[in-house]
């Protein structure tokens, strides 16, 4: 197992008018090739900040965030990011959105291959009928599928997902989770998923990192005992329920701790 990403004693804090605010404190863990890591914790705890450092949008105050052994210097196409707000480009059609990354110099994809890659992901994500539509005509679930297709098209080694299904209704959300499992099975990627849904974390991830209320520290790292490929039947298994109540307990403890802090400054994730 090669180490894809490493958090090495990572802390992040910044100055506010009310003093120094610690967001992430002394976090260390490794993400191996092929891992599906879910990071779970109370909202506003700093888990998005963790992802943001690996994506290259923020730098740790102390410690190191490494990708393939090198410190992360900024965003890059080898680390695909799926944002909670989708971020599909409204001025491009569905197909042009998928092709966006392929036309960039950094990815040097020959023009002849672009068409085939676009068609592949259009089909995989069930968007073929909407290839020439603009995002304004798409539902939330379709927009998120488009965002995933676009991120996949440039063949990242690593996928960072920030509560990707948070804004979707329960039905669409579970469809998207199944689709994600299907796609991962076909294409095999390393994933870091930020979520606040315990079920989502267990259902999708191979390892779950439970973080504390702000500042985010590691509370516990849990291996999920289900083999891939998975389907919804695992959610009926007693181990699933046990794991769920265990993790829920951990998260609820932290949620209470967070309430107890009663900090006047609140940071949205």
């Amino acid at each position: 197992m090669t180490k894809r990403a490493q958090f090495d004693k990572v802390s992040l804090s910044f100055e506010t008018p009310k003093g120094r605010l610690k967001v992430v404190e002394d976090v260390s863990y490794d993400i191996n090739d092929g891992d599906f890591i879910a990071v779970i914790g109370p909202s506003g705890c700093g888990k998005t900040t963790m992802m943001s450092m690996l994506a290259g949008f923020q730098k740790p105050t102390t410690g190191k965030v490494l990708f393939d052994g090198r410190p992360v210097a900024g965003p890059g196409p080898e680390r695909g990011v799926i944002f909670q707000e989708y971020g599909v480009f409204p001025w491009l059609t569905v197909k042009q959105n998928i092709a966006f990354g392929l036309t960039l110099n950094a990815n040097h994809v020959p023009t002849a291959e672009r068409e085939a890659i676009c068609d592949h992901y259009l089909g995989l994500m069930g968007l073929s009928d909407f290839a020439n539509s603009y995002p304004k005509h798409l539902s939330g679930g379709m927009r998120q599928r488009l965002a995933i297709a676009r991120a996949y098209a440039v063949k990242p080694k690593f996928l960072l997902m920030d509560e990707p299904f948070g804004a979707l209704d329960a039905q669409t959300r579970s469809n998207m989770q199944n689709l994600l499992l299907k796609v991962l099975e076909a294409e095999g990627k390393t994933v870091m998923l930020i979520t606040h849904s315990v079920e989502e974390a267990i259902y999708l991830a191979s390892r779950i990192v439970v973080v504390t209320a702000r500042p985010a520290r590691i509370k516990q790292i849990i291996d999920v005992p289900f083999a891939y490929p998975r389907d919804e039947s695992i959610q009926e298994r007693p181990e699933f329920a046990e794991l769920r109540s265990h993790i829920r307990q951990l998260v609820m403890d932290e949620y209470r701790a967070q309430q107890a802090q009663m900090r006047p400054v609140s940071f949205s994730e």
């Binding site: 965003p75 196409p77 409204p90 966006f100 960039l104 676009r150």
Partner: protein
């Protein structure tokens, strides 16, 4: 044209009929001296007379050209300046009070100075119209650009875009709607400023025509001039709206 198109066209025409009726009504009501209000048909007759014998088209062309040049130059400068102000916060802090100071000045107030520095020729009118369109356009541009969400830039970065690609493929498409809005606002302000700019001893132009007519109390000519200005501004706006609709098909708009 289909049924819905005809109905929309008819609906758009209706207020004009209403306005003409009201015009006649005011004239016949007896509240106003009839000699002070030429009837719509008299104005229409005057319009054709001016068109055929007095070279109304030359006036229309002179005015339209001035507006067109003034707006084109004004927006040409307003787009990069507004972009810089919207994009770089320090630039805005630096220039904002200054821009608001000049924007608040009515261009008409500057006419005496413009005459002193630029004379009474075509250049002087161009300067006034440039001034009017630049300051109205620059505000629209920088307000718009400063509201561009960083999300799309982040997305582009994670897909591997470099600075030049981000500018070309993300920032420019996001700026186009603001450029078009700036153009529309500038066109409106420029037509409003036109008459003032043509007060500077203009030989031809709709503003000059109105000005000359007022000297001889030719009310029907004044009406023709005013209606022409309104119509041309309306046509320009319609054309711009068509272009906007074409360029911005992707935008989520409530109107059908």
């Amino acid at each position: 044209m289909n049924g819905a198109g005809v109905r929309r066209f008819g609906l758009g025409l209706l207020p004009w009929f209403g306005a003409i009726l009201l015009w006649y009504a005011v004239r016949w009501s007896g509240f106003v001296n009839v000699s002070l209000i030429p009837a719509p048909h008299q104005v229409a007759a005057k319009f054709f007379e001016l068109l055929t014998t007095e070279g109304l088209l030359i006036d229309i062309f002179a005015s339209t050209r001035r507006v067109f040049l003034g707006v084109a130059l004004g927006i040409l400068v307003a787009v990069p300046v507004g972009f810089l102000l919207g994009w770089y916060r320090p630039a805005r802090t630096f220039a904002d009070p200054m821009i608001n100071f000049f924007r608040a000045l009515p261009p008409i107030a500057l006419i005496p100075l413009v005459i002193v520095y630029f004379g009474v020729d075509e250049l002087a009118k161009l300067v006034i119209l440039f001034y009017a369109s630049f300051f109205s356009g620059v505000i629209v541009m920088y307000e718009g650009v400063s509201q561009i969400t960083p999300l799309y830039i982040r997305v582009a970065q994670t897909l591997g875009a470099n600075q030049a690609e981000i500018f070309r493929k993300v920032i420019i498409p996001l700026t186009v709607p603001h450029i078009l809005t700036a153009l529309r606002v500038a066109l409106g302000v420029a037509w409003a400023t036109l008459v003032a700019s043509e007060l500077i001893a203009a030989q031809r132009g709709l503003g000059a025509m109105i000005q000359n007519a007022s000297t001889y109390f030719l009310l029907d000519v004044i009406y023709v001039g005013i209606i022409c200005i309104g119509l041309i501004a309306l046509i320009m706006d319609l054309i711009l709206r068509k272009i906007t609709a074409r360029l911005l098909v992707w935008q989520d708009r409530a109107i059908a």
